[in-house]
Structures are given as C-alpha cells and as structure tokens.
C-alpha cells in the first residue's frame, strides 16, 4: 500500500537527518523551510519568530516551545533544567511578551539517577522563580536504556504582549542600531569545555539566565524597539543572518566593537571555531532606531553580567546588500558573516 503525501515532497541533498539539522544553521533552516513550513505554514509560523503572537479577544499572547538535549546536563554556570526554563522564557521575552506560564515535558532514560533528576528539577524551580513564571502543567515519559541521553526536556510557554509593542524579526529598518547585551559565546564554550574528551582547563561559565526583567525594562524605556532575538544556537552569526534575511535588509558590523571574553576567544581559536557562531543563553540582540540606541545601552549596562562594560552597539542596518551581514574588519576591509552551516560540536544547547 502506498501513502500519498498531502504536502509538497521536498528534495534534499541529505536523505537522512544529520546532527547539523539541529544546530541552528543553514541545515536547520532548510529543514524548517522544506519540511515543516509546507505542511504547517500559517501567518503566525511563517514569520519564523522565536514565538507565535496570537490574538485572543482584545489582547495578544505569545506562545513558544523548545526542547533541550544539552550534553553534559550539568555544566559550569547551569544545568539542563535552568536552561530549559530560561530558554523558553527568553523566547517569549524577545517577542516583547511578559512570560507567565510554562509547561515541562520530560523524556527520561531507564537508569537515569533520581538524584540527578532532583537536581535538574530544583534548578528549574529556581529559574522559574527568578523569571517570575509558574510551571503549570507537565508530562513524563520513560524510554528504554540507550534510547535517549539521560534526560531530554521540552518546555512550552505563554506570555502576554502589552498594547503598542510590535517586535518581529521582519521589522529591521535602515538606520537601526544593533546592540548586544554582553559578551558572546560564553554558554557554548562553557558546555564545550565541560564535554567529555575535551580536556582543556577553563574558567568559562555559561551565561544561562532569564532575560525577562532586562527586556521588560528596555521596553518600558524604549517601546519603539524594532526587533529582538536571543542569539542561541548558531550564535550571533545565525541570529543576525536570520534578522537580515527576514527583513530583507543589510547589516554592517564593526568588528572592533564585538564583545568577546579573552578566554572565550582563546578557547575558540584553539578549537578552530568562530565565537560568533557559538551559542549564548543569556544575551539579547536588539535593533532600535539610532537615536534610541544609547538609552537601550544604558538599560543593558544596569543589567549587564558579569560587567557593565560588556553591552555594546555593534553595528547598523543598511539598505545595501539585503539579507546579508557584513563585518568591517579592524583593518578597514570587509568580509561576509555567513550563516553557520551546522553544528560546531554536537549538542551544545
């Protein structure tokens, strides 16, 4: 018996799922465009924002979901649990929403230590408390040994969007300043350093944390923000390429302003990885009219972690080369900042 597919059948360069399909780069985008959008497409999903903005009655809510498969599950600066809470809270907050409620779904592997589960769940509770959200529903499934890597967590979240806020990755305008709230690549590099088999000593800790308070303050002072994203998988490079492409605008970055910790820079070079492709879990990128940029920067500096000097205006939106991100190097030459292809290393976040 043959099954007739109802949606367009995609043509792939790859016939099977590769690790890179989950890494937030070109292959992840291809999967979304060629498999999910043709079957699920609708006006909320098609924007490819981190959250769907839904009109219910007179108001608007934001709705999002994310699944966390990080390895190792305990890493310097966080756990898979607080990552699962903060990640979903942040996906709501970057849409201009106030996060309110989360669900938590667990896939547990037979033999997973209960003490580890307890630690993960406690870290989730702490993170939810700090972010001002409640975990109001959940689900648990157990699979046989070898069928998952200890623990996978899915979190979904709902938040409300205040009237007058219109933030989307399609909203970049020429003349916007691009601002980042702190140093780049800390989370991904902390996780890599903690991975089995990678034996270099480092004091790099993950930046995993909720951004809802910071974003709420930014929006209170600068409601005219055009776009926001948290640069998670694929790092700053993936985020800016997505913004440029969705808005059909160009972005020019000034290399000398990009905040990267020296130890993250050093570890990246050791591994042959560009820190701009490395994941962050507690940073936000904001596009805002140039005249409001300093105001946003000041709010970020009040919240900056670990130091106030890390937030920076890193570039601007231009009409030229739509869909592309260009870096002005420290020597004054130019290069393209490409969308990363796929995984830097498996399962960073």
């Amino acid at each position: 018996m043959s099954i007739e597919l109802q949606c367009p059948v995609p043509h792939f360069n790859h016939e099977t799922i590769q690790m890179a399909h989950g890494a937030g780069g070109v292959l992840s985008r291809e999967l979304t465009r060629k498999v999910f959008l043709p079957c699920f497409g609708n006006s909320s999903l098609d924007t490819l924002d981190d959250q769907a903005k839904l009109s219910i009655g007179a108001g608007k809510i934001a709705f999002t979901t994310d699944t966390f498969v990080v390895s190792p599950i305990f890493f310097p600066g966080g756990t898979i649990g607080d990552l699962a809470v903060s990640g979903t809270v942040n996906d709501l907050a970057v849409g201009g929403a106030i996060p309110l409620y989360l669900s938590a779904g667990f896939v547990l592997e037979e033999g997973f230590p209960l003490t580890d589960l307890q630690k993960v769940v406690s870290s989730m509770a702490d993170a939810a408390d700090k972010a001002g959200v409640q975990i109001v529903t959940g689900d648990t499934k157990v699979v046989e040994k070898g069928q998952c890597d200890g623990i996978f967590i899915n979190t979904s979240g709902i938040g409300v969007i205040k009237n007058g806020i219109d933030i989307s990755c399609t909203n970049l305008k020429p003349g916007d300043s691009i601002i980042v709230s702190g140093t780049l690549g800390d989370h991904g590099m902390a996780v890599m350093a903690a991975r089995k088999g990678l034996s270099f000593q480092s004091d790099i800790i993950s930046d995993t944390r909720s951004l809802s308070a910071l974003i709420s303050e930014i929006l209170d002072e600068v409601p005219e923000v055009h776009a926001m994203r948290d640069p998670t998988r694929g790092g700053l490079a993936a985020t800016l390429n997505e913004l440029a492409e969705a808005s059909r605008k160009g972005i020019v970055l000034d290399e000398s302003t990009l905040p990267v910790r020296p130890d993250v820079q050093g570890a990246s070079e050791l591994l042959g990885i560009d820190p701009l492709n490395v994941a962050n879990e507690g940073k936000v990128v904001v596009a805002v009219p140039r005249e409001s940029a300093e105001k946003v920067l000041r709010v970020m500096q009040r919240h900056a972690y670990p130091s106030a000097g890390d937030a920076a205006i890193i570039g601007e939106v231009v009409d030229e080369h739509p869909g592309m991100v260009i870096v002005r190097t420290f020597l004054g030459s130019k290069r393209i900042l490409e969308m990363p292809l796929g995984e830097q290393l498996p399962r960073i976040c």
Partner: protein
C-alpha cells in the same frame, strides 16, 4: 593576551601596509603555503588591502584538502564493518567521499567519533577492548609527531585494537614540485609557521638557494602575515633569496628535535599521493614495518576501492596555485559548503571555503 593582541594591533598593521606600498615597485606573486594563513588573509581582508600588483596565491597546505579520496573511501568502507570505531578530527566528517561523507555514514549507524587529538583515540581503544578503533591520521609535519606518539604509546601498551589510517604529507617536496613546474608563477613564499616550528627551516634554505626564491616562515595573526609579505617583497625587490624567519617567537632553524625524532622512529619517507595534485615523490610518510600491527591498511585488507572524483571540481588547480577559487566554474554553483564537490570547500582551512565564507560571492 600577550603574543596575540600585539599581532592584531590595527596601527601596527597599517604601518606595515604603508611600508609594503612604499616598497613595491613592480608586480609580485607570493604563495602562502598554509590553509590557516589563507583563512587569516581572507578573514581579515588582507588581500583587499595590498597594493594592486601584489598577488597572493593560496598553497596546498590544507591537510583535509590533500587527503586522497581513496583514503576517505577506505575509511568509509572499514567503519561500515561491525565492531569498528573510527576516530577522526571533525573537519573530515563533511569531506565528500566518492559516494558519501563520514557524517552521512554516522547518521546511518557507523560508529564515527570526533576527537581533538590522537591520544583521545587511544583512550577510545582502551575503553572499548572488544572493538577495533582506527584513527584517521592525516596532516603535515604538524600532526605527524602526535600521530607517531599515539602509535608508540599503543605499541608500549600492546593495545592491539588500535591502528592508524595514515595519510601524512611533507611541505618541502610540494614547494619543490610547484617551483619545478613549467607553469610556475610563484616568486616567493610565506612558509607555514607551525610546520616550521616542528621541522625548522634548514631545508627551506636549500630550496631558496636552489630555486632562487625568498621564503619567509610566518605566523597567522594579521601583523604576522603582513610582516611576512613585507619581508618577501623587500627580498624580491632587492634580488635576495633564501630564508628570513619572521616567526622567531616559535620557529628556530633546527626546529623541535624531540618531535622530529619520534616521527623518524615511527614513519619512513615515501611517495605521497596528494588529492587534486597527484603523486609527489618522497613527499609522504608511512608507518615503518615494525609498527605494521598498528597500520589500518594492513589490518583491514580493503579491496575494490575505486575513487570517483567529480569532473567539475578544479581543486587541484586551486591547490597548486594555478587558479583562485572563484575561477573554478563550479564555485558557488554546483559546489558550495553545503554540497561540496571537493575538499577545499569543506575544510576550515580550505581556500574555496575561505573565499565562499568571507568574500567569494559579492565583495
């Protein structure tokens, strides 16, 4: 960071650029041997800033690019056998074999593991005594000492489930081959700093004298590369040849004697088959007979390997410096990092990938 920041200093870099402009009186063609230098040049846009007459040609020094297709096909064939684990540097996973990549084989169930050193591969062998573990030992004089150490250690421990699929090359024979070619246009070299750290530069002095070319070992930071270019141009302009070491903070004339000794103990010199280039006499390293039990090729007798290169790919011409990547008709069309035809589009050190990533398309 000491030894880093001062080599990324924009004032210092601009001063050297100005000196290059002041020194150049005629066109010169210089080859940077190493893929790491290629990436630094393109990433920092150094090629855009040089005076018009100064042309940089990318050399064959990308270890992933020159690993022959049959080695990759062999690795794919061996890892498809039950109970076998392949340990490899991450770069090799996306290199196209004749039919598939290691990454695709991995998704199909092959046990392919990414490691950061051959010693990590040894650990996998220790932890999996019921499995055969082989390491894809590729690279130039820089990786050879580590790969040799792993073999020596395996022999010391009598770790008979470990072996290496060796594809090691040496740079000086390739430089001689390029300079001996009738079509050669290279007038001076930036020699690969990390290779010279191991080997020293005595052999380069002989090449410089024999072919009357300037050779300047240099590092990978923008100031290193610009200083190297300036020194080559100064030597060219004044008719001097030979070696001037611009990477004195790590490179010495005699190199690293301990590393050289372990390489000599484990490997012997043999003809080397470079992907895209062909056989270069006495340019490869193979395991000595006494280490035969650790030689993957001898352990697994894989017959019927018939590599099938794409006829569109001109990576050989790129690796020999005959063309720059964008002059290959397939560049950016049939061949992209997502669907590469040849290894230079895959490796982080490949010239085609560097061009595509940093400025091949529009700049």
């Amino acid at each position: 960071m000491k030894f880093i920041d001062e080599y990324r200093d924009s004032d210092r870099a601009r001063n050297i650029l100005k000196k290059i402009e002041d020194t150049v009186t005629k066109p010169w063609t210089i080859m940077e041997i190493c893929g790491g230098q290629t990436h630094s040049i393109v990433r920092n846009g150094i090629d855009q800033l040089l005076p018009d007459g100064v042309r940089l040609i990318h050399g064959p020094g990308c270890p992933v690019c020159v690993t022959p297709l049959d080695i990759l096909d062999r690795a794919l064939s061996i890892v498809s056998k039950p109970g076998v684990i392949l340990a490899s540097f991450g770069d090799m996973l996306r290199v196209p074999g004749s039919r598939e990549t290691l990454s695709v084989a991995k998704s199909g169930g092959a046990d392919v593991r990414v490691v950061f050193s051959p010693l990590e591969a040894l650990n996998i062998a220790r932890e999996n005594p019921q499995h055969e573990v082989f390491f894809l030992a590729i690279g130039f004089e820089t990786t050879a000492p580590g790969n040799a150490m792993a073999i020596k250690q395996a022999a010391r421990e009598n770790l008979r489930n470990f072996s290496e699929l060796v594809s090691q090359f040496m740079v000086p024979p390739a430089m001689r081959a390029i300079l001996s070619s009738e079509k050669n246009m290279i007038q001076g070299f930036l020699a690969a700093g990390h290779v010279c750290t191991v080997t020293g530069y005595e052999e380069y002095e002989r090449i410089g004298e024999e072919f009357h070319v300037p050779i300047v070992p240099t590092g990978f930071e923008p100031v290193d590369i610009l200083s190297g270019i300036l020194r080559v141009i100064e030597m060219l302009e004044s008719g001097r040849s030979g070696v001037h070491n611009e990477y004195g903070r790590v490179v010495s004339r005699e190199g690293n004697p301990v590393a050289k000794k372990v390489v000599d103990e484990v490997f012997h010199v043999a003809d080397g088959h470079w992907r895209g280039i062909g056989v270069i006499p006495q340019s490869g390293l193979q395991l000595r007979d006494e280490f035969a039990p650790f030689d993957t090729q001898k352990k697994f007798n894989v017959a019927d390997i018939q590599p099938d290169e794409s006829p569109l790919c001109r990576s050989g011409d790129v690796l020999r410096g005959m063309i720059t990547p964008e002059r290959c008709e397939a560049f950016g069309k049939e061949c992209t990092p997502l669907k590469p035809l040849g290894a230079p589009m895959v490796s982080a050190e490949g010239a085609c990938a560097a061009y595509y990533k940093y400025h091949g398309k529009v700049l």
